[in-house]
């Protein structure tokens, strides 16, 4: 895992840069920008309502819960609906607690692999992670490498996200702004804005849910503590 600057043998680098700079010397007449300050996207007035609405459109499940106990019950229910097999969980105190509370028939007997033990197994039945923020405008969740790694949100047929209403931001611009402000990429090699379950429409433009990634994306969204 190299983290220091590396040297790449780059015989054409200067040539390409030279060609770019030479090309840019050509003057190009460009139309002046038209009116500024036009509003591109409808402002989001009620982020929670919008997020839930967009989740439906994105074919994801969003369960609103009042407290930790309710979230644990919700988690147990989701896990019960899945076939037997290992689940992968981001190693985080809040998720350890949630798993403990949900320790009903659904979880007990199911092997758990924690992200501190490495990547999720190929045959994982589900993955459970946190998210950095939730985006109301597009019904998306933003995950980073810190949320259990890269595979955590794509390897298993079901991805469960445990989040709090306070993590909601109104729109994409805010979410991306936060990545910049918090210098997320100083500590993470990866981030992803996920908006729904994996899908394809490559055959006759017919929508098929569950292509290579999760068929189900479940957000357990808690409002209380």
């Amino acid at each position: 895992m190299p983290t220091e600057k590396v040297q790449t043998d780059n015989p054409s680098r200067e040539r390409v840069l030279g060609r770019i700079r030479a090309g840019l010397r050509t003057a190009v007449v460009e139309p002046t920008a038209l009116d500024r300050g036009r509003v591109i996207f409808e402002p989001v007035s009620d982020p929670l309502e919008r997020f839930q609405r967009e989740c439906v459109a994105n074919l994801m499940e969003c369960a609103l819960t009042v407290d930790c106990a309710a979230s644990a019950r919700e988690l147990a229910q989701v896990l019960q609906s899945l076939p037997a097999g290992e689940i992968f969980v981001q190693d985080d105190p809040s998720l350890r607690r949630l798993i403990e509370m949900a320790a009903s028939a659904a979880v007990s007997g199911r092997p758990i692999r924690w992200s501190s033990q490495g990547a999720p197994a190929e045959a994982s039945q589900a993955t459970l992670t946190l998210a950095e923020v939730l985006i109301a405008q597009t019904g998306s969740v933003l995950v980073t490498a810190a949320c259990g790694g890269r595979g955590a949100s794509v390897v298993a047929p079901c991805h469960i996200i445990y989040a709090h209403v306070a993590q909601l931001v109104p729109n994409l611009a805010t979410a991306l702004g936060r990545i910049s402000q918090q210098r997320i990429f100083d500590h993470n090699s990866f981030a992803c804005v996920i908006s729904g379950s994996s899908r394809t429409a490559d055959i006759e433009k017919i929508l098929v849910q569950g292509a290579h990634g999760p068929r189900r994306l479940v957000v357990i969204l808690q409002s209380g503590s």
């Binding site: 895992m1 983290t3 220091e4 600057k5 590396v6 790449t8 780059n10 054409s12 040539r15 390409v16 840069l17 060609r19 770019i20 030479a22 090309g23 840019l24 050509t26 003057a27 190009v28 460009e30 920008a33 036009r38 509003v39 591109i40 967009e54 992200s115 999720p120 190929e122 490498a145 810190a146 790694g149 890269r150 595979g151 955590a152 794509v154 994409l172 991306l176 990545i179 910049s180 990429f185 500590h187 993470n188 090699s189 990866f190 804005v193 996920i194 908006s195 994996s198 899908r199 394809t200 429409a201 490559d202 055959i203 006759e204 433009k205 017919i206 569950g210 292509a211 290579h212 990634g213």
Partner: protein, 476 residues
């Protein structure tokens, strides 16, 4: 006529007469149109969004060197490699050498048009490496040993029956269904083995974000996610023009690309990757390489009229709306990038002599320009390419003579009239002899498929004069 042009004419005639093909494309385009309109309605001010995207790309392209260097600095500081390739051969050689050096035997690829452009897969295969296309559409055309039909939906020319048959022949003779859900499941199972066996994942990039030093990939299936998460090496192959200045720019570019590409509000996975796996991360590739491909792009920077062609975000909207594409189909173009953007770009990348005919594969209706989310003036660029080809002497001598004669006549009304008279007489005779549409017919190209347009008895000028006389001054 170049061989490419002859092939184009031949395939275009064949494809437009292929009713099954037309039906498949019509249905596909109908569902795209509906989704696209719905998607656009979700954006409050679509025109403002287009303008914003145009400005972002313009700023990036006009300072290409600066933004690329900023991107490179960030990536290398995190332990990633950035390789600058002047052309396709250099890019292929870099990736192939890397793969050989690191003992790669299997590569999984997610969709990337640049890798098609530089013919990366054949280069890797020549080195004995197995390459799997993992996007469902790409996987299908790879099994058919065909290039992608469309830059966003590579297998849109096939119906489920044809795909089921293909899977039966190539993957599993026991497949009985043609249900898209089942067919996807078959592909998923097959490719799953590849994902977890491959040592190298190759992806493209929709954007290179300069200030954050990350690549951005938009995918729906999750194959791009697996390609960039599971194998131990990740190679990104992309064009130099993909850079954008700021991460926040994606707040507009992502929704606009999704809307124009498929009609979605946003693509399922907007992935950002800034380097190899870091210490403490659960997974991810240990090596991260970005190959920046020039391959003729920097020449376009010097083109005062057409620099903006580099703004293209490869959404495919201009292909979908183009009446020519809808009739002749993607393969007819015989180029990596089909449709209006391909017709504009290909002569620049692959030579104006060989590919000038593509500038004429357009009615200049301007539909492409009207939908382009980064506002590229596509149909005017086609017109400029026609002019450029003529100035470069790429047109036929007979055409040059004809236009010279026409110009002469246009400047001399009497000779024009004489020419018109002679043409009417000659055509009338030819039609009377039943030779319409034959090699003797100057209107052959039109008449061989259609009933001849009835010839007027008198010229327009004669009719005009008469009407002036009968209407007195009202016609002046």
């Amino acid at each position: 006529m170049s061989t490419a042009a002859q092939r184009f004419l031949h395939d275009a005639a064949e494809k437009s007469a292929d009713l099954m093909h037309r039906e498949i494309i019509r249905r596909g385009m109908d569902s795209y149109d509906a989704a696209h309109l719905k998607g656009r309605a979700r954006i409050k001010d679509w025109e403002a969004a287009r303008q914003k995207c145009q400005e972002i790309k313009r700023e990036a392209v006009n300072h290409l060197d600066r933004y690329l260097l900023q991107f490179e600095e960030k990536v290398t500081a995190r332990g990633g490699h950035v390789f600058w390739a002047a052309n396709g051969e250099e890019a292929c050689a870099y990736v192939t050498n890397l793969a050989t050096r690191l003992g790669v035997r299997t590569v999984v690829k997610s969709k990337s048009m640049v890798t098609e452009e530089i013919h990366l897969t054949p280069a890797l295969e020549k080195a004995g490496i197995k390459v799997w296309e993992t996007d469902l559409g790409e996987f299908i055309v790879q099994l058919r040993e065909e290039p992608p039909y469309h830059i966003v939906t590579p297998a849109m020319h096939l119906n489920r029956g044809q795909i089921a048959k293909l899977f039966r022949e190539k993957l599993d003779p026991a497949i009985t269904t043609d249900d898209p859900v089942e067919l996807m499941a078959v592909a998923r199972r097959k490719l799953r083995e590849a994902f977890f066996a491959a040592e190298m994942g190759i992806s493209g990039a929709n954007f290179l974000v300069a200030d954050a030093g990350v690549i951005a990939i938009s995918t729906n299936e999750g194959n791009g996610r697996l390609c960039t998460s599971v194998p131990r090496i990740h190679v990104v192959v992309t064009g130099i023009e993909k850079v954008i200045p700021r991460l926040e720019d994606l707040a507009v570019l992502w929704p606009v690309l999704a809307t124009s590409g498929t009609g979605q509000g946003i693509t399922t996975y907007g992935t950002l990757i800034g380097g190899p796996r870091r210490r403490g991360e659960a997974d991810g590739p240990e090596e991260f390489h970005v190959v920046l491909v020039d391959n003729g792009r920097s020449q376009l920077l010097a083109d005062a009229e057409q620099r903006e062609v580099l703004h293209c975000i490869r959404c495919g909207a201009c292909l979908n709306i183009c009446p020519v594409f809808r009739h002749v189909g993607g393969h007819t173009y015989g180029t990596t990038y089909p449709g209006p953007i391909g017709s504009v770009l290909t002569p620049h990348l692959n030579g104006i002599k060989e590919f000038q005919h593509l500038s004429y594969a357009s009615s200049l209706c301007g539909a492409c320009t009207s939908v382009c989310p980064v506002k590229i003036d596509l149909h005017h660029h086609l017109l400029q390419n026609r002019r450029n080809a003529v100035s470069a002497g790429a047109n036929k001598p007979s055409e040059r003579w004809m236009f010279r004669a026409w110009r002469y006549a246009m400047l001399r009304p009497q000779s024009y009239e004489l020419g018109g008279w002679a043409m009417r007489k000659a055509l009338r005779l030819i039609y009377r002899l039943g030779l319409a549409g034959s090699a003797f017919d100057p209107m052959q190209v039109w008449n061989c498929y259609r009933a001849p347009v009835p010839l007027p008895v008198e010229s327009f000028r004669a009719q005009w004069r008469k009407s002036v006389r009968s209407n007195g001054d009202s016609a002046t």
